[in-house]
């Protein structure tokens, strides 16, 4: 049960949010130009890291905005939250 600092609303309970998988996977601009393998890479392949992971979250029962989170999956520490389109503040 995290406390998540929504970049738009501030600190809210975990239960208001929905996790949306790995962040920074950009939908290809020209999908038709891609081979099956390249498309499959975009479509299916996701990392599952023990450690620092970049994730998408949605404040589903709040402002409904999507944003990004840097989370250490080994201890659930949230290192940073930042808006969509912004560069991660941590590498």
């Amino acid at each position: 049960m995290f406390v998540i600092n929504c970049p738009f609303c501030g600190e809210r309970e975990h239960s208001e949010f929905k996790a949306g998988g790995e962040a920074h996977i950009v939908r290809p601009k020209q999908p038709t130009e891609l081979s099956d393998d390249e498309w499959a890479e975009y479509l299916f392949m996701r990392k599952n890291i023990k450690g620092i992971q970049f994730e998408r979250w949605n404040h589903a029962h709040g402002c409904r905005k999507w944003f990004n989170m840097v989370r250490d999956t080994s201890n659930d520490e949230i290192k940073a939250v930042y808006k969509m389109g912004e560069k991660p503040p941590i590498k």
């Binding site: 049960m1 406390v3 975990h14 949306g20 020209q30 999908p31 479509l43 949605n58 201890n75």
Partner: protein, 1001 residues
């Protein structure tokens, strides 16, 4: 006659208030303030249960929540019955009835006790080894094992009590109200923090509150008197909330904790009416201070489990607190100074002590000298080697320990007794700390695990942090608090402390015996009957990981999670395997710390509040007209409207015929509705639907299919262009929220450049759908000003209209294949418009129909239902809906996936119609479809997704998915059922009006 072992008024007891209660059918009395265990002990009842595996007689062992043995069932055969309750935690009240668990037929004569004599046949892993193979025998064994194990009975009637959940937010949560917890709560509250103090017991003060001797003093007062003053002061603090009888069950990340506050369990049953029984507190604390104390360790020697053997600290608590002597001939067995504190208490209260057996040789201890002064024999450097007495201890054997503590030497001495108090030192109660993700470190000096790395803003103080003596606590607690709360001073800076206990301990995990290990029963886990021998056997058989040994021997797997003996198990493993304790680590302590009832967990979410549901604005009409309802997502939808004596099939046949022959009316308010606005709205629809939207004229409607990025059908519905930059999209009832979420996701994350705004308006509109050949006449009467001519208002178009003064939107769209209109109006007017349509339709026999008829009508027409005919593996091509996939559009969600090597396979499962050879035979949805029943194994080609008897076509129709079905038109297939094979023919999925004559009529 039972003996009365009440010695002197205890701190917690009100001797003017007698309470009668029943235990195992016999009536006893105790006093207000007693726990079930203190009251039983006062009546000289030690034997309270049988052990799990060997059914050995067991007695009360502790005075707290760590109790492994005294597990009872309350109020057997009543709706309030509760199993697995610790007698040490039950406060007695008038009318309390408790009975022993885990013994059959009764506690004094227990058939399972024979297991005790068979125990050589019941080693560790016995259940796994014997009963798991052959698997087919398990059913028989299970019955017998469960009967003889008998771990309590669950209630058979609904729980009459009320439970609640409550959220609490605080700056500082203090868990535990012993001396360090009281100091922490006072300091935090006085420093301006909004503080919550919880304790599982009904009183504050922990064990210091009954520490009344000259050997423990603070500022020249007995430590108990000093603490009492502190408690009286904190009760006046405005910033501090105190909750007693509140046990923290779970400590999750980010300082989120669950606690159970017990409000009525101590009251007589008749006083509980209309009161909340338990509150589940969901606590979010900025800072948490754990002052959870420590649990005294037993010692591991042969037959260390007999009734009458208690923790030494429990004996002290029973005397000081409840005024109850646990025996008349007491012996204490210890490896540290704690037992002498108990001895001093017993001496003060005039209770006989036969002897003290101390592992240690020479110790310079003031407490020990005091006891010696009272002419009590102390056997220094001795250990207990065996105990005697079946239902109550009556004798022990002791022997001298060798210098290295590995052997016993010299001759055996027998001592008679009726109570043996053991003290193996203390184990910090770090359960909650580890639940929170905290890491422990092992302190070699006194062989304890203490908190090391905190995962959140928290602090452990007092004995749960390894400070066991009064002076350590009073010096370290203020120091830690200052740093943790970031304050300059506490009230506890210059206390004068007298703390006389000697800190030495002679820790021997498994005490030596004069017998070989195989002949001993030295219990490590009392509740699950795991012995030192079992642990060694597990190691011999190759188990190394502590988690594996735990599961194999079941050590620590009881309802007490091995609060007493887990450390000894680790110690024995460490010694036997030659591994360091610190490297072995501990097993994982899992929530809840003590068991919670289901009632507490579900709170008010019972009965009609079990799951929330949504009602349409027309719901009351459906109810009044006797509709049966169906759950669709969270909605209650009218399913069918049975007339007198009609069953579902009859009602649906009647409704379906009426809709096609004259007029039907459906409440379609549950369909998801999304208002889409913005200059890029058309482009947005182009990207999310498979077909093209740019050319849709204002005032026209279009059906759209939405895919996932993997090319599989996700949702469908009709979208209407309301204006240049405005659309209203409808979604399936169940998919509405997900579609909205998905569209928002793409807009915000992939296409932020698009000028599009989405608003969910599902609840804002009621939708009344009127269909059938007479639908036009009916809606014209309801909306007389509107031109309903086919030229002006053709199929798939929309008009704004007014009913009276109220604006509404009318769409001519159809999910049944009939000429039909949907009137969308602000929700408040939904029911009135519905009733107007019913009134206007009277002369046309307008028939309300529910979801079942809707499904039948659309199946006749071959319209799919997403989620029924599709299952996230169906592409539009698989559905034979190639026509809806735009070839011209450069991209849309899922487009690229439609020509992956897998999605272009010809032999994918494809949607087809199926007609039975016998037109009256209706197939079962979900039934398998095969071609050849003689082949082995039979190749499964697909399954039936929708199936009905069509009253309009007068035959059975079905939709199904079949491998390569698209190219099998006219082929014969078989539906193999339990009793017969049904012959079917593959057909066009559109069974009725392929030319759309009825739609456009």
């Amino acid at each position: 006659m039972t003996k009365n072992l009440r010695v002197k008024t205890g701190k917690a007891i009100d001797e003017t208030y007698r309470i009668l209660f029943k235990f195992n059918g016999k009536t006893y009395y105790g006093f207000k303030g007693d726990t079930l265990s203190s009251a039983l002990l006062a009546n000289d009842v030690h034997l309270v249960g049988r052990s799990f595996k060997y059914h050995r007689p067991r007695g009360i062992m502790t005075a707290g929540s760590e109790e492994p043995n005294a597990i009872v069932q309350l109020h057997d055969k009543s709706s309030r019955t509760e199993p697995n309750v610790r007698a040490t935690e039950v406060e007695i009240y008038d009318g309390l009835e408790a009975s022993s668990q885990n013994c059959w037929p009764n506690v004094k004569f227990d058939i399972g006790g024979i297991n005790n004599f068979l125990s050589p046949l019941l080693p560790a892993g016995f259940y796994y080894k014997t009963f798991m193979w052959p698997a087919s025998f398990w059913k028989k064994y299970e019955y017998l094992i469960r009967k003889s194990a008998g771990l309590g009975k669950s209630p058979t009637e609904p729980d009459p009590d009320v439970y609640e959940h409550k959220y609490i937010h605080c700056d500082v949560l203090v868990i535990g109200s012993g001396i360090s917890g009281i100091m922490a709560a006072k300091t935090a509250a006085k420093s301006g923090f909004k503080t919550l103090l919880v304790d599982e017991k009904p009183n504050l003060g922990g064990s210091t509150i009954y520490q009344n001797s000259d050997y423990f003093k603070i500022n020249n007062q007995n430590s108990s008197s000093w603490l009492e003053k502190e408690i009286n002061e904190i009760k006046k603090l405005k910033n501090l909330e105190i909750r007693i009888r509140t046990s923290v069950a779970a400590y999750h990340g980010y300082n989120f904790l669950l606690a159970r506050e017990n409000l009525t369990d101590h009251l007589p049953v008749e006083q509980r009416k209309d009161k909340t029984r338990h509150k589940l507190l969901k606590i979010r604390a900025k800072k948490v201070i754990s002052a959870t104390g420590s649990i005294e360790r037993p010692m591991i020697f042969d037959n260390n489990d007999r009734p009458g053997i208690l923790l030494s600290s429990a004996i002290k608590r029973y005397v000081d607190f409840f005024g109850v002597a646990c025996g008349e001939k007491n012996i204490l067995f210890t490896n540290n100074d704690s037992a002498y504190e108990t001895a001093i208490t017993l001496i003060q209260k005039g209770i006989n002590i036969e002897a003290i057996v101390d592992n240690r040789e020479e110790v310079d201890s003031k407490l020990l000298y005091e006891v010696e002064k009272n002419n009590i024999k102390i056997f220094k450097g001795y250990t207990v080697t065996d105990t005697f007495g079946y239902k109550r201890i009556n004798k022990i054997s002791i022997k001298q320990l060798s210098k290295d503590g590995q052997k016993v030497v010299g001759s055996k001495i027998n001592l008679s007794c009726d109570c043996l108090g053991v003290s193996g030192g203390w184990t910090p109660a770090v359960h909650l700390f580890t639940q929170s993700g905290g890491k422990l470190k092992f302190r070699e000096d006194d062989q304890v695990f203490i908190p090391s790395i905190y995962p959140s803003d928290q602090l452990s103080i007092g004995s749960c942090n390894g400070d066991f003596t009064l002076d350590e606590i009073l010096i370290n607690t203020p120091r830690s608090l200052k740093e943790f709360l970031n304050i300059k001073n506490t009230e506890y800076e210059n206390l004068e402390v007298i703390s006389s206990a000697n800190k030495s301990k002679r820790n021997i995990w498994l005490l030596p015996s004069d017998k070989v290990l195989g002949k001993t029963k030295s219990f490590v886990d009392y509740q699950n009957d795991a012995t030192a021998k079992d642990i060694k056997l597990a190691l011999r058989e190759g188990f190394r990981s502590i988690e594996h040994v735990k599961r194999y021997t079941t050590t620590g797997m009881g309802t007490d999670q091995g609060k007493l003996g887990n450390m000894h198990a680790l110690g024995i493993i460490s010694e036997t395997a030659g591994a360091k304790m610190g490297e072995l680590g501990t097993t994982t302590f899992r929530p809840p710390y003590t068991p919670l009832t289901f009632g507490t967990i579900v709170g008010r979410n019972v009965g009609e509040y079990f799951d929330i549901f949504r009602k349409t604005p027309i719901h009351n009409w459906h109810e009044k007209n006797k509709a049966e309802f169906e759950n669709v997502g969270q909605w209650k939808r009218a399913w069918y409207y049975p007339k007198e004596n009609e069953n579902m099939h009859q009602a649906v046949q009647r409704e379906s015929k009426a809709a096609r022959e004259s007029a039907g009316i459906l409440d379609a308010s549950t369909l998801g509705k999304i208002d889409i606005q913005g200059t890029d709205a058309s482009e947005f629809l182009n990207r999310v639907y498979t077909n093209a939207w740019s050319k849709l004229a204002i005032g026209k409607c279009r059906y759209g299919l939405m895919l996932n990025e993997d090319g599989m059908v996700y949702d469908d519905g009709v979208t209407t262009r309301l204006g240049e930059n405005r659309y209203i999209m409808t979604t399936t009832t169940g998919g509405a929220a997900n579609v909205m979420g998905k569209l928002e996701d793409y807009l915000q994350t992939e296409w932020p450049e698009l000028d599009v705004y989405l608003t969910s308006v599902t609840d804002h509109f009621a939708t009344v759908s009127v269909c059938g050949p007479n639908s036009k006449k009916i809606v014209s009467e309801v909306i007389p000003d509107l031109d309903f001519s086919d030229e002006s208002f053709p199929h798939m178009s929309f008009k704004n209209a007014k009913i009276g003064k109220i604006n509404c939107r009318v769409m001519r769209i159809s999910f049944t294949g009939e000429h039909s209109y949907e009137i969308n109006i602000q929700s408040n007017y939904g029911k009135s418009v519905w009733e107007k349509c019913i009134e206007a339709g009277k002369e046309y026999n307008i028939t309300p129909y529910g979801t079942e008829t809707m499904h039948l009508l659309r199946a006749e027409k071959g319209f799919i239902i997403v989620g029924q005919d599709t299952d996230a593996t169906m592409t539009p091509i698989d559905l034979q809906m190639d026509w809806i996939v735009s070839k011209k559009k450069y991209d849309f969600i899922g487009k690229r996936s439609l020509y992956r090597s897998d999605t272009i396979r010809e032999d994918r499962k494809q949607l087809v119609g199926l007609l039975t050879e016998d037109p009256n035979e209706v197939l079962e949805e979900g039934a398998q479809i095969v071609a050849d029943v003689n082949k082995s194994p039979i190749e499964m080609l697909g399954h039936i997704t929708s199936s009905y008897y069509s009253p309009n076509l007068k035959k059975s129709i079905a939709l199904g998915v079949v491998k390569g079905g698209k190219n099998m038109m006219g082929q014969k297939l078989i539906i193999p059922m339990e009793k017969k094979n049904i012959n079917v023919t593959v057909a066009d999925p559109v069974f009725l009006d392929k030319e759309n004559k009825r739609l456009n009529a």
